[in-house]
Symmetry: C2
Subunit: 199 residues, 2 copies
C-alpha cells in the first residue's frame, strides 16, 4: 500500500513525464524532476525505485518506460466508472473535465433532484433523477460518486447513496459525512489546500 504522499508525488512525476514526451525528450534524470518539484533528489529516486525502472548513469530514466510503470503502479489504465451527484456548477465543470479520461476515470452520468435538469446533457453525459441512481448503479456496476450537492443536503444525500450500495464517495462538499465502515470518503477540502499554498 502506497502512502498518500507517494501517490501525490508519483502523479506529479507522471505529469512531468508527459510534458517531457510531448517536448520530444526521451530521457529525464531524477535531478531534473526534483528541481521542478522543489523536492529532494534522493526522495525522487526512492519513489521511482517503487516502479522497478532502472535509470542509466548520466542519462537518466527512459521517460516512456517510467511513465508506463507509474500508470501500472497507480492503476491509471483500470477503467473507473463514476457518477456525479449534484448537477450544479461544480458538478457540470467536473463532468466537462476531459483530463479525467486520460486516467481511466469515466464520468458516466450525473444526478440531481431538480426536475428542470433531468434529461440535460453535459459533455454527452445525461442528468438523471437521483431516484434512478440505485437502479443505474446496479445496472452499470458503478459504486463510486463525486458528491457536489449543497452542504446542507450532503448528509441526507449520503444516507441515500449508502442505501444504494455506493461504496466510495469523493466529497467536494464542506460537510463531514457519517458513513458505515464499509464506505470510504475522500475529503476534497479545497480550503485546506489553499492554506497549504501559503504555508
Amino acid at each position: 500500500m502506497l502512502s498518500d504522499k507517494v501517490i501525490e508525488r508519483l502523479s506529479l512525476y507522471h505529469c512531468i513525464l508527459q510534458d517531457c514526451l510531448n517536448a520530444g525528450e526521451e530521457f529525464i534524470s531524477s535531478a531534473q524532476i526534483a528541481l521542478l518539484l522543489k523536492v529532494d533528489d534522493s526522495q525522487v529516486r526512492k519513489d521511482i525505485a517503487l516502479c522497478a525502472v532502472q535509470g542509466r548513469a548520466k542519462i537518466g530514466y527512459n521517460a516512456l518506460d517510467l511513465k508506463l510503470a507509474i500508470e501500472h503502479l497507480l492503476g491509471f489504465k483500470n477503467n473507473k466508472r463514476i457518477f456525479i451527484v449534484g448537477a450544479g456548477n461544480l458538478g457540470f465543470a467536473l463532468s466537462k473535465y476531459d483530463d479525467f479520461k486520460d486516467y481511466g476515470l469515466d464520468v458516466v452520468a450525473l444526478f440531481d433532484n431538480d426536475p428542470l435538469k433531468f434529461g440535460m446533457k453535459v459533455n454527452n453525459k445525461e442528468v438523471y433523477d437521483i431516484q434512478k441512481l440505485p437502479k443505474l448503479s446496479e445496472q452499470m456496476g458503478v459504486e463510486t460518486v463525486i458528491l457536489t450537492v449543497p452542504r446542507s443536503k450532503a448528509q441526507e444525500v449520503t444516507d441515500f447513496l449508502v442505501k444504494s450500495n455506493i461504496h466510495y464517495i469523493w466529497n467536494f462538499t464542506q460537510s463531514v459525512l457519517k458513513v458505515p465502515p464499509n464506505v470510504s470518503v475522500h475529503y476534497e477540502n479545497l480550503i485546506s489546500h489553499f492554506l497549504l499554498l501559503k504555508n
Copy 2:
C-alpha cells in the same frame, strides 16, 4: 509551521464544528470527531492541543470556542484576495463557489485571452483581458491566482504571471510548472486525490 496533514485535519474539524453548531449542539468530544473522520482519538486531542483550547471531562470541548480557535490558527479570517486565470468551465465553477467566502477567500476577478469573454460577469466578478492582469494585480494588491487554463498553455501563462509579480499559484492544470524560487505552486492534482479514495 503546521504540517500539511495537520492543516487538512484542522480544516475538517472546523467543518464538523460548524455542522455541530448548526444542529444546536454546544459541546463535542474528541471521540466524536475521531469517529466521524475514522482517525485516532489521541490524534484529534494532539491536534486540538495546538489550538490551546481546554476540554472538560465527560463534556468535551465548547464547539464555538474551538471553531474560533481553529479559524485563528489557520488564518481563516484574514482576507485573501485572489484572481482566477482561465475563464473556462472550472474557472467559472470556482468563481461561483461561495463557500470560499466563509474562509476569507475572495475571488476578485477572472482573466482570459478570449475577447468574447471580456466583460462577462460571473457571480458579480468580471472577466478581464489577461494583458490587464499586471496592472490590476498592482492596483488591487493581489499576488495569488487560481490557474485553470488548458494544460498546453500552462507554462506560457505561468511565465507571464511570474513577470506580473504573482507569487502564489494554486495550479488546477495537469502541468508541472517551472517557477523561480520566490514563487510557490500548490498542485491541485485531482487525479491523485481520486486514487487516494480507493487506496
